[in-house]
């Protein structure tokens, strides 16, 4: 066993940058310093005064207090369905489980059936040896209780654990203009940016309380002004680079600012970028490396199509990204493996969870590469992570690819690769990935797709890479 190198950062969204963690910066605080009061409707005031019981009273009071801290003016009704980030039943979430138990005992349920982030383990599709299983069951000893409480409080079904809940196969897909109180950073970024729904990045606990109330504090990314761009990102690259590095470059620069990206529409069609996961991975990389939970892309995302460069706020800053800048950012990624030149033990692809098309592309890529060298098995344990719905759809639409992947030894788990990398398992060391989010939040190393393909086939890093 190794001690977690990141100091026990178990969770899905560690943020190591000094930001507000709400997805955009708070307004500057100026005197007088008193907390602004949030205006309540008559019905909300009745809840606040305890007329519908002490648990709902605590619920609305906590949401109101939280909102007032960030300058919310009122509560706003939520639409669409909730999605929650808490998916790991570790010792650290015991107080939250007691809060959940309070809510369930009071007979409360969320305003609509909700989905949740992926579990930390998938023993069926990501097999572990008995020692590993015992170790992880020790770390995540409260999983059953979390799942039971989630289902009591309104979780849609025991299958509904995935960070990419908005994929059509899973179907928790909000509509343009829906107000939400989601918490998973990559999902918040996706629904804000690609769909035009409105959600702040909510902390765990507050997401559930808002879902119980069916209302959330109105501030930040829920407001028109909070969605204006504070950065113009001028993409001048000669080609469409790997999205994960572009996203990382933007995230590291804008932090919690809101970027309007221009120059990407030379390479992207909206439809293709949705199905091949480009938007999903771009948003996750930006949110993971910085903290922004909304991106506008000129000519592509709905608010950028509607308002164009009028989205830019006065005094916006500009960042030019060219081929050299992409190279500079990529070259700056640290190698956090303790054995810096060790041979990788696993390849993990799918953080955030893959789309069906991404699964198809990786299947084709791996099969072609193995066939090219006349192989019959992959050279290193490799997993393509996706929701149970996406896995089923992939198998149904591409049965020959799914069968061949299975023969080669590629697994398709529905758990969270990043959380697995955050465990004290010896095997969690030396993971290779193409996910910038996993790179930022664990000790996994980032490689581009060509290097990973070669690694999957040979089990070794190409000369000059390691």
């Amino acid at each position: 066993m190794r001690r977690n190198q990141l100091g026990g950062q178990i969770g899905t969204d560690p943020i190591f940058t000094p930001t507000s963690h709400t997805g955009r910066p708070p307004p500057p605080m100026t005197a007088p310093f008193g907390r602004p009061r949030l205006t309540l409707s008559t019905e909300e005031q009745a809840l606040f005064d305890g007329q519908r019981g002490p648990t709902l009273q605590k619920t609305i009071r906590a949401v109101v207090d939280y909102g007032e801290i960030f300058g919310a003016s009122r509560l706003i009704p939520l639409r669409g369905a909730p999605h929650h980030a808490v998916s790991w039943g570790s010792r650290g979430i015991e107080p939250l489980l007691r809060l959940y138990r309070d809510l369930a005992d009071a007979g409360l349920r969320t305003y609509a059936p909700f989905t949740s982030n992926p579990k930390p383990m998938d023993p069926v599709h990501l097999p572990m040896d008995p020692d590993q299983l015992t170790a992880l069951e020790g770390v995540f000893g409260f999983m059953e209780e979390l799942e039971r409480l989630n289902l009591e409080l309104g979780m849609r079904s025991p299958r509904d654990w995935s960070c990419a809940c908005y994929e059509p196969e899973m179907g928790n897909t909000p509509e343009f203009g829906d107000y939400l109180a989601w918490s998973e950073s990559s999902a918040v970024s996706y629904v804000n940016s690609v769909i035009g729904a409105r959600s702040n990045r909510n902390p765990i606990g507050i997401d559930m309380l808002c879902s119980i109330l069916g209302k959330a504090p109105y501030f930040g990314l829920m407001t028109d002004r909070g969605r204006q761009a504070t950065w113009l990102i001028d993409v001048r690259t000669s080609r469409l680079h790997q999205v994960q590095v572009l996203g990382s470059a933007i995230g590291l620069r804008v932090m919690e600012g809101i970027p309007l990206i221009v120059g990407l529409d030379r390479f992207l069609s909206r439809t293709a970028a949705i199905s091949n996961g480009y938007f999903k991975d771009l948003g996750a990389a930006i949110a993971g490396n910085g903290g922004a939970s909304l991106i506008h892309i000129e000519g592509v995302t709905p608010e950028a199509i509607r308002w164009g460069r009028d989205l830019l706020r006065d005094g916006f800053e500009t960042y030019v990204v060219d081929d050299d800048e992409i190279e500079r950012v990529h070259a700056g990624y640290p190698n956090l493996w303790r054995n810096r030149h060790g041979t990788p033990k696993r390849v993990y692809l799918g953080c955030p969870h893959l789309t069906v098309e991404q699964m198809r592309e990786w299947a084709r890529r791996i099969i072609d590469a193995v066939d090219a060298v006349g192989g019959s098995k992959i050279g290193i344990p490799t997993s393509l992570f996706g929701s149970p719905y996406v896995r089923s759809a992939f198998k149904a639409r591409h049965p020959e690819l799914a069968d061949r992947l299975k023969e080669l030894g590629v697994t398709i788990p529905s758990s969270c690769p990043m959380m697995w990398c955050s465990t004290p398992l010896e095997d969690a060391e030396l993971v290779a990935t193409n996910s910038n989010k996993t790179r930022v939040f664990t000790t996994a190393r980032f490689f581009n797709d060509d290097v990973l393909t070669d690694l999957i086939v040979t089990g070794e890093l190409s000369k000059g890479v390691g």
Binding site: N4, L6, G7, G8, Q9, I10, G11, T12, D13, P14, I15, F16, T17, P18, T19, S20, H21, T22, P26, M29, A31, F33, G34, R35, K58, R61, A62, D65, Y66, I69, F70, A85, W88, S90, R91, G92, I93, E94, P95, L96, R98, L99, D102, V139, S183, R201, N202, P203, I204, G205, I206
Partner: protein
Amino acid sequence: MSKPERGMTPRVFRGRPVFTGAATGLAAVSSIPFDTCASYVDVLISGARSGLCRDTANEELYEHDLIDTILCIPQTIGSNSATTLWMTLVEQGLAPRALCLANSIDATVASGLVLADHWIGRRVVTVDSLGLEFLETVKTGDTVKIREDGTVEIRPTESN
């Protein structure tokens, strides 16, 4: 900005009272953002009943017992599981007595302290937006007195 002079006279700063209340105690100061999960990793992972800071990256506070201190920091960073960690710290009496933040409070610690306030019934007095000069002035071991209106008074110890 020139470094503020330190004498024995108290210095007073004004911030935003986030969780209002009065508190007095000894300062524990970090000039770098406070990583909650890394600092309390023993509580998070093994359930230790300890307030010792275990963040090896934080040279100023490493091995410092933070229970009942006035924790003076720029702001916090780290995993979203810090929300429940703050609840645990408050519930088990391991939390600092108060937080003084130079910058705006972030969502993770705000939610943890909101939930502790309402579900556990215990409040960690918190003042934010105190400014960087506050952080440059206060030293570990100074006596810090917080008033309900967000005024923070620093009384330097002689050794500082």
